[in-house]
């Protein structure tokens, strides 16, 4: 901020670039993010040392650490200026520029998510194609992107939105635990109620989900379209950014953002519907060397 003022450049673009650099430095130095990055790298390395029959046990780590802990880090980063709110109000940048700068910081965990995706794609050893159930190359890519890359982006964006609107200082860890519980509950119910439309809708109404479940001898592929689920996740990211920008927006900007939010919510609803109705019509089970069979 001081650099911008001293340079005499107060344009929104200049301010956004400078603030993004500044906030990125703060995010990268955050102990929470450093722990998340270290744990992701360690867990992936440890998980991929042996041949894996259950891919979910590896792909879940970037979502939990980069997404979950990234949300906590972004939440604290957003709230860190609250004590100096009076001073920030008289600064030459608007709250929306500051919020946009913090949202752009999510590029850092997104890059980490892509690196995790690459590491899993290159180094993960599986017994055979049946490990991914009936998913083909495209489906596998969607599965991995939806489980490693998008949560790494969405978690921090959710943290920014939460930090802008919620005053409760423990909101991020509490929300992380609640989402974690929701995903576990939906996953367990999906394993026992494979033909229930309600359970399917519940499982996919989450920022993270599984599409396969396996043991040593067989893999179940569940209903739902992995690619449309990626679209649903991206829509949730857009919702988080729009909601974060809505806080303290000027009347003109507020009405524009509200229109954007309505469009994004409509797109999210469409993606959710396509996720639920797309993909397999029923769950199937795959055994090594055998054709998949309906359950």
């Amino acid at each position: 901020m001081t650099t911008i003022i001293a340079a005499g450049r107060t344009g929104p673009a200049v301010g956004l670039v400078a603030l993004t650099k500044y906030e990125t430095r703060r995010f990268v130095r955050s102990p929470v993010f450093l722990v998340a990055f270290g744990l992701t790298a360690w867990a992936l390395w440890d998980g991929m040392r042996v041949t894996v029959t259950e891919v979910n046990t590896v792909t879940v780590y970037p979502a939990i650490f980069l997404g979950g802990l990234g949300m906590v880090a972004a939440f604290w980063l957003t709230r860190s200026t609250q004590r100096s709110a009076e001073a920030v109000k008289v600064s030459p940048t608007t709250p929306q520029v500051r919020t946009a700068a913090i949202c752009l910081v999510a590029i850092v965990p997104l890059i980490c998510g892509w690196l995790s995706f690459l590491a899993i794609t290159v180094f993960l050893r599986v017994p055979g194609d049946w490990t991914y159930g009936t998913l083909g190359t495209s489906g596998r890519a969607a599965l991995l992107i939806g489980q490693t890359v998008i949560p790494a982006l969405g978690g921090p964006l959710l943290g920014v939105a939460l930090g802008r609107w919620v005053r409760f200082p423990g909101a991020a860890p509490v929300l992380f635990l609640v989402i974690f519980g929701w995903v576990i509950l939906a996953d367990v119910l999906a394993a026992t109620h494979r033909h229930s439309m309600l359970v399917l809708m519940m499982r996919l109404f989450a920022p993270f989900t599984f599409f396969t479940a396996s043991d040593q001898h067989a893999v179940e592929t569940w209903r739902g379209s992995p690619w449309f689920f990626v679209g649903w996740q991206l829509c949730l990211c857009a919702v988080a950014v729009t909601v974060a920008l809505l806080r303290d927006a000027e009347p003109g900007l507020r009405s524009r953002l509200t229109r954007v939010l309505i469009v994004v919510l409509a797109a999210a609803a469409l993606m959710y519907a396509l996720t639920v109705t797309g993909g397999l019509g029923h769950a199937v089970i795959s055994h090594p060397g055998k054709a998949p069979q309906p359950i």
Binding site: V32, L39, W42, A43, D46, G47, Y61, I64, L69, V72, W76, F168, P169, G170, A172, P173, V174, F176, L177, V178, F180, G181, I184, L185, D187, V188, L189, A191, T192
Partner: protein, 209 residues
């Protein structure tokens, strides 16, 4: 005096997080045979997070220089732990009724350990900051959720009792006995030290005993 000090406790935060824990825990009790252990682990972590808000003091810069010592303040504020403990006991009772095979004493020990851990982290953090709840709850949640997730710890430490114990791993009872003893020592050390909270570049810092 006790009533006045209790008025300063962040009841909304404690009650809200406890209510969420109760909701998650209720789902765990309903689906006890399938997702029960995982959901109850999360519920207990939320109760630990609730306990971490018991020592939050927005007016710490005033309160910390009053004659009432940190031991007395901590003792009075520890009464706020009754909220998460009561909610947790409700969950333990429900578990005992639904699944007699599960040891309710082991679940009760896990509950006490979780709440004590959240409070102990807050006690240690309270020496440095006036409102330790935010980061103490995050730290408690992370410490309680990490063992089943971190690959090297997953099969070795059990933070929630189950009917099928891994003979090679540290049992839930042993783990919580260890954690509980460590927490009691940490709380005792943090309240026994009568120094004022550390404040950088503050005149209060010169008055440390």
């Amino acid at each position: 005096m006790t009533a006045i000090m209790l008025r300063a406790v962040g009841w909304p935060a404690i009650c809200a997080v406890t209510a969420m824990a109760a909701a998650v825990g209720a789902c765990g009790v309903i689906f006890l045979t399938s997702a029960g252990p995982q959901l109850l682990t999360i519920a207990f972590a939320l109760l630990a997070a609730a306990a971490a808000f018991a020592l939050d003091e927005p007016a710490s810069s005033v309160v910390d220089v009053t004659p009432t010592g940190p031991g007395a303040r901590t003792a009075v504020r520890s009464l706020a732990l009754l909220v998460p403990l009561c909610a947790g006991l409700g969950l333990v009772l429900a578990c005992a009724l639904r699944a007699p095979a599960l040891s309710w004493t082991a679940i009760g020990l896990a509950l006490a350990g979780n709440v004590l851990l959240g409070f102990a982290i807050a006690c240690v953090a309270r020496r440095r900051v006036g409102e330790p709840g935010a980061w103490a709850s995050s730290a408690a949640a992370f410490v309680l959720i990490a063992p089943p997730l971190v690959p090297s710890l997953a099969g070795r430490v059990h933070t929630f009792p189950t009917t099928a114990q891994d003979p090679q791993g540290l049992s839930s009872n042993a783990w919580w006995a260890l954690v509980g003893c460590t927490c009691i020592v940490a709380i005792a050390v943090s309240v026994a030290d009568r120094r004022l909270p550390w404040r950088p570049r503050s005149s209060f810092g010169r008055n440390r005993a």
